[in-house]
Symmetry: C2
């Protein structure tokens, strides 16, 4: 039987073989900190810090209002969107960074309903295990447009798909269990009934290959502050399939979504592309951090991110099987890496106390009532050695 | 007749007597720069820079996700709102900082329409000289709710007020001419017909006493990056009269507007107070700059801001009368300070060339086609000496 020493030695070998091992140096993380919450708030990159300080000192202080013309502020929502696009498998020009996820989802669902609602299509389906905010927003959009609102699990949706459904919305990754839904199959089944699909990638982008174009998703939204490391409250983003961008309208027009923002025209003319999902002025400081952090992610192939993310999780599952499967622990996530997002829910009746003790040992996890320790395997900065240390502490804490 | 030397000497005397003269040291502005665009992008304060750097290094880098509990991020939208409240004459707890002005206006107009629309109230009135984005958003909300949308000048509105109108919306200050509307009279006339009033304070807050409570305004929005100096693309804010906050619903619910954001409840329960206008996660970095800049403004009585703003503008008008009233110049704003916001539109057929030459001399103004030089008198950092220098250059450039 393997000992913890063997397991730790294996971790060091895996770190040496990890093609992303050097990426940790891009992050401003203390060496002794094992940060398992990249699914909640990604850490600071050196690039993000430098970009924000540059924005303060050069662009705002020295450039002042001139930077709107001489700098990149006007393009920032689009250029940040293009960097997101490469992470989620979308073509350039199909993603724009805007608002918060709630507002972005409101816009996208409203756009989808406006396209697809008809006297016979009067139903919106919503993932019943979706992040609560998404469910609140979806219900609000349904109410606003007089649609019947039905919540059910994503796996149940294909059986409910029918020609009375206008729109379905779900998260690609379950924010509790990390279950990865079969996006391609669900989307295809929806399209068989001409239902528009709206996916939330918040817990997926940067940990999973989202392949939004390849999966033929109609619309997607997501947040910038999880695996994308965009900073606290980083802006969200909107994706629309290139085949429909040009015919889409959303309900919050604004000058940053106008074809000619500085023409101050009497009536709204949407920008030709995805910029039409912008409304007001870009939150420059927050967006600068996100843009720079995405520059870091984009140095590495998304395939490598996904592979390392799975391997880190699999290594934890292996340690769980060997050292934690007795003594009250349970696994609240899929064992098979390919069916999992970036995190794992570890179950234990004493999860709250254990979380606190782990955090006190610089093993940063979080507790979710009643019995979940959430552990995320962010691929760019997490080490197999962190996983080995976590498993070791968990086995001692029990 | 006064000479430019006399005028410049007067400027120095007025600077000495200005109770806000010392406030310029709070800003990171080069001594030789005369910045007349506080109405477009307020300059960097030392406090805002320090707050953002602290957020990067201490709160994000070191605190990471723990800062959500140990720091002030959760309260930031409310505490920033409270600082705005003091500037616009609102009680604590009636303002929250959120989103962009476009999104904030969408929420507020939707809330107002939801309250007041009825089978017999089916009209929305909108300021025809409003900032274009506001007009786009207002029309969108009217369309969404099946209201008739009528644009007319604010001065014409009282004659149109009748029991078929649900909501009126206008800017307190005209963004081109700087005309200050009679907010109290228009609001009172609206209330005579039970019409809800939504005012945009973007060009007013920090330059004008908005007195939203005293004027009995129902809802207001505004942006953080003009006279409030909150930084490029700073968040916007929402005000709702305390008498109606508790009964208001807006269409973009989100966890930051929930009574218990971290309870992850199945259905949305709005926060008791103005926080219900929040949706997604606060854009922390952008909000930190705005919060700190508002801390600076709040060191000075709003009465002094208004008085100095008017005096700077009046001093310009005086210089205009003496040195610029011939040679093709015209005044596109009210001569009387009390009827003006924070800026003045100077008209000249050659405005574009002149603007460029002024900027080349560190007199930072902007040109608005076809013939307007916009000059703003931000009271916290602008000097009467800047105004004298501007008038002198303008007289030479002609």
């Amino acid at each position: 039987m393997t000992t913890l020493d063997d397991y730790t030695r294996r971790a060091m070998e895996l770190d040496l073989a990890n093609p992303l091992a050097a990426a940790r140096s891009q992050f401003d993380l203390p060496d002794n900190e094992s940060y398992f919450l990249g699914n909640s708030l990604g850490p600071l990159t050196h690039a993000a810090r430098a970009a924000v300080v540059h924005a303060l000192d050069e662009e705002w202080r020295n450039g002042l209002v001139r930077t709107w013309h001489d700098g990149d502020w006007l393009e920032l929502a689009g250029s940040t969107g293009d960097l997101v696009a490469r992470v989620i498998g979308a073509p350039a020009g199909s993603v724009v960074a805007v608002d918060s996820t709630s507002v972005a989802l409101f816009k996208v669902l409203s756009a989808a309903v406006t396209i697809n609602k008809s006297p016979t299509r009067r139903v919106m389906l919503c993932d019943s295990r979706n992040f609560p905010t998404d469910r609140y927003v979806a219900r609000s959009v349904a109410d606003l447009h007089g649609l019947e609102f039905i919540e059910l699990e994503v796996s149940e949706m294909p059986r409910r798909f029918a020609d009375d459904v206008a729109v379905m919305t779900a998260s690609m990754i379950d924010y509790r269990s990390a279950d990865l839904h079969d996006v391609r199959a669900v989307t295809a089944a929806a399209h068989d009934h001409c239902i528009l699909t709206v996916w939330d990638l918040a817990h997926a982008a940067g940990a999973v290959k989202c392949d939004v174009l390849d999966n033929d998703i109609d619309f997607a939204v997501g947040c910038g502050y999880k695996y994308l490391n965009g900073g606290p409250g980083a802006p969200a983003y909107v994706y629309a399939a290139p085949r429909i961008i040009g015919s889409v309208a959303q309900p919050i027009p604004g000058w940053f979504g106008h074809a000619e923002p500085f023409a101050f025209e009497d009536t709204f003319r949407p920008a030709a592309g995805i910029a039409r999902f912008s409304s007001g002025t870009t939150h420059v400081l927050s967006m600068k951090a996100m843009h720079a952090a995405l520059g870091v992610i984009n140095r590495y192939p998304i395939e490598d991110l996904r592979t390392t993310c799975i391997r880190l999780g699999d290594f934890f599952v292996e340690g769980y099987g060997t050292f934690l499967s007795t003594g009250g622990f349970g696994l609240g996530s899929q064992r098979e890496g390919a069916r999992r997002g970036g995190h794992i829910a570890l179950l234990h009746p004493d999860a709250e106390r254990m979380s606190k003790e782990l955090i006190a040992r610089s093993l940063i996890v979080d507790f979710r009532p009643p019995n979940v320790i959430r552990i995320a395997f962010s691929p760019l900065f997490l080490r197999f050695a962190d996983v080995a240390r976590l498993v070791g502490e968990l086995s001692r804490l029990n």
